[in-house]
Amino acid sequence: MHFERAHNHTWRKIKSTLASTVAFVSAILVIAPLALVFLHLLVNGAGSVNWDFFTKLPAPVGATGGGMVNAIVGSLELLALAGAIGIPVGVLGGVYLAEYGSTRVNLILRFLADVLNGVPSITWGVVVYGLVVLRFKGFSAYAGGLALSLIMIPLILRTTEEVVLLVPNGYREAALALGVSRWKTIVHIVMKTASKGIITGILLALARVGGETAPLLFTAFGNRFWNHSLSQPIAALPLQIFTYAISPYDDWHRQAWAGALVLVTGVFCVNVIVRLLTQGRSASVV
């Protein structure tokens, strides 16, 4: 009897250790793709990231060499366009939810923003294609920027709301008691206090849409040359990587790896900056 109980206890302890081991192996399997992707990006891409890559236009089809300078600049232009629309709308909308909206209105708006966050990014490309590209008879940087901005709005709105709500009420009361008007209190006291968090949200949203390809396929369309007008098609780094990856040329595959390494480095740099800003407070990926 006594022996049996001891035996049972040992078995339960072994089972516990086994379960922990299985969970540990799962965790390793979850992060394995990250390590593998990184490894292969370095192995296949590092050799091709050179001066030419950052300074030259793509070589004509069939010729080797050339770079992706137009795609890098194009991506930055698209991000600027997207930010010009997405940041003010997202931030001010988030401020409304945190400062003004009634409980019921907020519940609905927050719910809609979450639903929008779940809409596949390619759908935004289709919508902007119908709204802008068909209407103005052509692919353009404006269309690409708009598609990215529509993805940014609900993202920034939700993070802004969350961090503005974290500002203690005492700050608002102190400012109002001094006779400062409500909107000045919000802009100069509340948003200023929450500025680190707001900027974090903006940076994460920019990093997210900076890697988006699907919404650009039939809005920005891509371009093998410099874009001279924002109403013309424009190149973007993720688009260029996609085009090169599915092409039959070895030299283009090489450049796709190089482009991917540059893009991932950019995205990760932003994430590291965010981590430094939030200092240990983990940033949500949702």
Binding site: I31, P120, W183, G210
Partner: protein
Amino acid sequence: MTTISAVHIPLEERSAQTRMASPSRFGDKAFELLTLTMALAVVVLIILIGWQLWNGSSLAIKKFGFRFLTTSTWDPVAEQFGALPFIYGTLVSSLIALLIAVPLSIATAAYLTELAPLWIRQPLVSLIEMLAAIPSVILGLWGIFVMIPWLREYPFPLLKRFFGWTPFFTGPIYGPSMLAGGIIIAVMILPIITSVSREILRSVPNLQREAAYALGATRWEATRIAVLSYAKKGLFGAVILGLGRALGETMAVTMVIGNTPQIAASLFQPGYTLASVLANEFTEATTDMYVQALFEIGFVLLGITILVNLLAQLLLRTIRTTSATRAVQ
């Protein structure tokens, strides 16, 4: 009292007060209106997306009706459009992804909140966040040149040898296939299911764990009985949220699934998804009806993902409120 004191206020001071009061009240109204307008953007966007996709596909909806969803001929030249192979491909690839990702993610979430040594938790969480930050197109690139050659070399022949008697692992092995698509989607949704599950498990009140330990439970028993079963509903919500992402995943899948509109039992056969057909064919669509049919594909995709996301929101909302209320009690 008040009237007396009001009388004693010097004239210039009073006018200064009124001068200050009215513009700031105007500023308040204007600022509130401005932020309200921006917040209403989410309402506008929902209407816009639905209206544009409906409007863009109205002719196709009228012409094909319900047949669009139930037939499998996709022939742009003959203007015959049936979306069944794409719907099938989307559902099957997402299902494969869930089968792989759900056990791994939930086990990882349990490891992160319950079982792992404290020092290892934060670094692991950071790594999972980094995985979430990898753009889809880069996973696709890796899928084409690293994952598919490896799958074709080792795991696929093994699956064929041991499970070749089932209809799922028969026929020639090409590489780009439904199974490869499902695996790459699994990688894409691992981080979101893991991190939402982790949040859910963290919200389980400590009282639960303490009660289990007080009864002499081992660490695993406490995790299973007191934490995982308590959080069942929320974990289900996390899985549904992952499904929502899986259904709409585009670039990485397009690059590895083979892009062939067919319904084949074997997972080694290439397939096609709703999102992939949009990515591949939108810029090639020449006739009006072709564009209309693609808009309808977008409409179907939007409908499915919104339904799935609504379900996820409902599940996650209730678990948050109930666990909060229970924690208070």
